[in-house]
Amino acid sequence: MTGKLKRRDFFRIGAAAGGGLLISLYLPEVTNAKVSDKLKFVGPQTFAPNAFVRIGTDDSVTVIVNKSEMGQGVYTSLPMLLAEELEADWSKIKVESAPVDAAYNHTSFGIQMTGGSTSTASEWERFRKAGATARVMLIAAAAQNWQVEPQSCRAENGYVMHSASGRRASFGSLADAAAKIEPPKDVTLKEPSAFKLIGKPTRRLDTPAKVNGTAQFGLDVKIPGMLTAVIARPPVFGGKVATLNSEAARAVPGVRSVMQVPSGIAVIADGFWPAKLGRDKLEIKWDDGPNANLSTAGMREQYAKLAQNPGAIARKVGDPAKALAGATRTITAEYEVPYLAHAMMEPLNCVVDLQSDHCEIWTGTQFQTVDRMAAAAVAGLKAEQVQIHTMLLGGGFGRRANPASDFIVEAVQVAKVAKAPVKVVWTREDDISGGWYRPMWYDRMVAGIDVLGSPIAWTHTIVGQSIMEGTPFAAFGIRNGIDGTSVEGAADLLYGIPNLQVDLHTPKIGVPVMWWRSVGHSHNGFAVEAFFDEVAHAGGKDPVELRRTLLANQPRMRGVLDLVAQKANWGKPLAAGRGRGIATHFSFDSYVAQVAEVSVDKSGAVRVHRVVCTVDCGRVVNPDSVKAQMEGGIVFGLTAALKDEITLDRGRVQQRNFNDYPMLRMNEAPEIEVHIVPSTENPTGVGEPGVPPVAPAVANAIFAATGKRVRKLPIGLVAMG
């Protein structure tokens, strides 16, 4: 019985081409990666032809998913890919999260991770090949038993059949024999016309466990002897403990110890409540350090000043200065967006069982390879001695792919001093005020239009912190002074404007920042698409018509644009007081268009009634998941558009919980309609592309309804004066 994974190197496909970040070049663990024998999928009664599937003699088919399930549906869509080629009985599919191993690395990025809306693109071929390989071996085993040619057999719904003789055998009954078959060197994948599962709306496999309380998130993990820690972190980023009096904290019943760790003071207790009570009683004087005077107002002033001059050139086409000088009219506008917290519903947490020769971690993470290396370094272990159990993630949105593995490293540090297995829990206040935000951005836009009202020049100066700087990814993420994530969605403008310049200022500010669902597109989508509306109106053009003209060479974007205009009744009369706004955006290789329908009351309060969304994301695996991600992206983007900002005063974050960092709620959620444009291209991103267009669509709709331009998020109340 071959439970080992020794053949999977042969089976791994090469990295997908085209813009993949070759992180493997910079992460030593990966370059030296060997398949570890530790990863035996145990159970002598099991056929495990590769790292992704295991077939039990009980006919169970377990798909090992290397992507983290954070709501986007990978625990269903990736098994669909595998089951399609395996010809499995869908009702027998079980899902397990993958351990950390190079076998599970992202096919483009070279590390095990979930992010960048790339899960389907990364696994589209590999998971189908994993299924096809297993199918070929099962058929070979059956053919051998029956002494017939494999070509005369086929697999269907969990069985191998031999039509000529009417014989059939279940996958489970063939598991033992299939395990002895040499894996095929290559497999032929189905023609899409033969797909039975792919492309069909399929109910998620994880839903039953999420409606009866049995789904296990990181925060639900309990291991024997486990203590719980809550950490007091400095109120100013980069601050340090000056003095500590922990007497009152130690006196709280249930508190076991109070220990200093690099990130602050850990109160370690029998459970969350005593740990939290203990933390409340700590008397700490902090040395605030160099960021003590940071304020949003000061930063805004600095950013606005920087924006008046061009920064490092990210893209230049034609001669924008000359074209602007010769334009019939120029339009200038400045846009700004604040720092934002990810605010996943499940606050960060991490369980660590640290022993002298190994370390086990249970957590919801998007960044297994990076986290394992970081944990090993802190624990003084080799990476192979650290195992991470990826639990369900109660939301991710990028926060759980931390380049510094902040919440993992801290938990290992606490485990070192706790001398017991420990669960570190972040409170909501810790989460909102804890940094690692979407950066604050300031965008200055200038356009020139010709005598016919068409834009002939477009310049965009971007000001904001770099996400990549200071991370292991800086070496390739920053080129010629340009962090690609700062200018994405701006430098790759799809509109055919003959003179273009996009440039960037990257101030260094002591606020930790990182990727937040849709990353740079989250601000560039707003600035570009809201400004486009201004340009269209300045030239007397209909925003849809002007897009159609300038997207003449972008048939896929034209496709989503035309469909959204049709579905949203663009140009048709609306109820009094309502306005429609449109935005389109290309991100994560997908094309999205949205039309928002809004009204604004006398006080300036905005109500978004309806959002119509069209998306072209290549071939679709599970259409219902694509729709769900668009719906979710729209609500996520609306929360940012209407409500949220993280601000600082005297270095201190001023928001703490959902009362001052509010979320869109049921009574504010619009009706959402999603239409998928069919495509035969390879699958592209879905988790993030729904976010960027919604803020500009709403801003443009507010203009249509009121004549007022919104250039700053969150919108809050529109100034109606």
Binding site: G71, N212, L219, F272, E346, L393, N659, R665, M666
Partner: protein, 157 residues
């Protein structure tokens, strides 16, 4: 010792009477389906039923729940047979799923009292429950569907 009636069973717990019910359910009784989201009754992830009322267990002292009927998501049904669970599965409401126990527990009280809730009734009952994944349109649809199933005697489409 505090005596609690949870999901029809009587249990005694030896905890500080000021401890929020949430942490007793999760850590003492290992009923982890009830979630921590904010600790200040802002998000609804910790919603359970206390004598049939939807309450935020993160701000309810355990001592104040003594002797009352507590129902958690684990006690809603033992076999996914509650119309809300069926509707949630049929419409595939959850994404990350973390808030859904609380959503369902809030919706269950609505449905127990109102066999045909309007959109406005749903807004009233559900606005205290945050979903960061943005499943609101599906929650709304699923509540209507569950109400329909309940009226039809629990048949699934």
């Amino acid at each position: 010792m505090i005596t609690l009636k949870v999901n029809g069973k009587t249990v005694s717990v030896d905890v500080d009477p000021n401890t929020p019910l949430l942490w007793v359910l999760r850590e003492t009784l290992s009923l982890t389906g009830t979630k921590y989201g904010c600790g200040v009754a802002q998000c609804g992830a910790c919603t359970v039923h206390l004598n049939g009322e939807a309450i935020r267990s993160c701000i309810k002292r355990v001592a104040d729940a003594a002797g009352k009927e507590i129902t958690t998501i684990e006690g809603l049904s033992t076999d996914l047979s509650h119309p809300l669970q069926k509707a949630w599965i049929e419409i595939d409401v959850p994404q990350c799923g973390y808030c859904q126990s609380g959503q369902i527990m809030s919706a269950a009280v609505l449905l127990a009292r109102n066999s045909k809730p309007t959109d406005a009734n749903i807004d009233d009952a559900m606005t205290g429950n945050i979903c960061r994944c943005g499943t609101y349109p599906r929650i709304r649809q699923a509540i209507h569907r569950a109400a329909e199933m309940k009226r039809d005697g629990g048949t699934t489409k």
